[in-house]
């Protein structure tokens, strides 16, 4: 059972945990701007000598740009403490000595730039024709590049049928790797009017067409933690993941053996916490929860 953070529990947490990992959207900021009291909480933790890392599934920024955004908002974070999926995908391919070309379904200026930085060639971000009048035109446009050995999919607002067709056709070859940045169905935006599909919705037609499942780079897959563990020598039993989603952040914590805290300033609700784990294996139950990060911060 998840416990709501109290002064007493906060003191226990501070005794047990050396490293705090934070999700960004819904924890530090949301679509309206910074979430009140989050910066102060992070600064208090740093003043106590705790290591702070940020772990985001967002693939729209390079690691460098993510660090700059944090710094603009007052967060003193260095590149080694910032993990984002555009960078982790490039780092993953570098670590396995990937030598082919990548067919990229994702933004050139973030995912493309991170691939460039590790010297991996990629195609896919050139504009596709907006109107494809016939089936014959469709196939005539579909020249496959035999050097492509990986399809990498992130959040791509330029996604369209031709990209779906190309990506599925590359993936027909079982030797072509299939990587996805993150499985999230919806962007972390609360809206009564709009329903904003995220990367999971761009991956789903490819999964259906090919019968293949992508290797996931972001939360809840443990890839991101592996990189942190290597760089900083982290012991997961001394780490706590703080996030706003049971299906990514809290499940990530469980998958990596970390402690976890849900904040209610984003997607998941206290009702979700109560039903988590019991009925739905895709949503993990956190160890602790708090209204927002500041509700924990008041006890730090």
């Amino acid at each position: 059972m998840a416990q709501e953070v109290t002064q007493e529990l906060a003191q226990e947490i501070l005794g047990d945990i050396d490293n705090f990992l934070f999700d960004c959207d819904g924890v530090l900021w949301d679509v309206k701007g910074p979430i009140e009291g989050s910066l102060e909480t992070i600064n208090k933790l740093k003043a106590l000598g705790k290591r702070v890392c940020l772990v985001t599934n967002n693939s729209l920024k390079t690691r460098q740009k993510s660090v700059r955004k944090c710094q603009r908002l007052g967060y003193q974070i260095c590149q080694d403490e910032m993990l984002c999926t555009s960078w982790i995908a490039a780092e993953y391919l570098r670590s396995i000595n990937f030598t082919g070309k990548v067919y990229l379904v994702g933004p050139e200026d973030s995912m493309g730039a991170e691939l460039d930085a590790v010297g991996i060639k990629h195609i896919g971000t050139e504009p596709e024709p907006a109107v494809i009048p016939s089936y014959a035109d469709c196939l005539a446009n579909l020249k496959l590049d035999p050097e492509v050995k990986c399809v990498l999919v992130g959040f791509d607002r330029q996604f369209n049928y031709m990209k779906m067709l190309r990506a599925s056709s590359y993936l027909k070859n079982p030797d072509v790797l299939f990587l996805g940045t993150n499985p999230d169905h919806l962007l972390p935006v609360k809206s009564d009017e709009f329903c904003i599909p995220d990367t999971g919705c761009i991956l789903s037609p490819l999964v259906l067409a090919t019968g293949r499942q992508p290797t996931m780079m972001g939360k809840p897959s443990p890839n991101m933690f592996e990189v942190l563990r290597k760089v900083h020598g982290l012991d997961p039993s001394r780490c706590m993941m703080v996030g706003d989603r049971l299906d990514t952040d809290i499940l990530f914590a469980k998958n990596c053996g970390m402690h976890s805290m849900l904040v209610l300033s984003g997607i998941s609700t206290v009702e979700d916490v109560q039903s988590a784990g019991a009925s739905d294996a895709t949503k993990a139950c956190p160890d602790f929860y708090a209204e927002c990060l500041a509700a924990f911060g008041q006890f730090v």
Copy 2:
């Protein structure tokens, strides 16, 4: 257990069945042209006084254009004997006295034309911007029309992220109907090189984003048979569906209480027949199977 058609079984079939329903792609023709002997088989059945109807999940043609294609290939079919999903969707909305506007994900010149023919207003087929530089531009482009009361999805080569976003946002309102022409994952094209996503792949991100399931117009849903039953007064126990796919054609037959025959000139294989029903409830086992339509026709 499915039985391969023999002379003896063919005579039994001809005794029991008055109405033969045929799928088109993979049965009458394929991407290379007419399938040898299919036309002759249909003509023999008609000469014996059997009723012949064609039932296709293809949403790229109006019913009128589908009939014209058949006639060009020699099939003497009238409009009442031709069922296609572009027409059935419009017919379905007409039959429930739908008065709102449709947000259409599908071709203007087939699905749009069929909606026009029954006087149903629709939007969605205007070109979307090919490049959406930012999140803010994305939402600025997203003015929702309050008159839209149905999202209708067919095979749309113009499908892109903006359409996904719009359709999902309309579907956030539970009063907005969600209709799909057909659940097929792949077009019925055998290719070693290409993997060509069909309507099921266009529906899947909408299902994931909204948590809703579409009401399906085409096979294997019984909607299409209901229309035939009304128009021609068909008794399903005197009907046989002949198709090339276990998951659409043969399942459609089971769902409607018809007899069924699989032909091996399209998607499903004799190995699929052997494993059908046992391990996978989405694939029904046919009563009979034959190499191709002509393999049955030789006994007619």
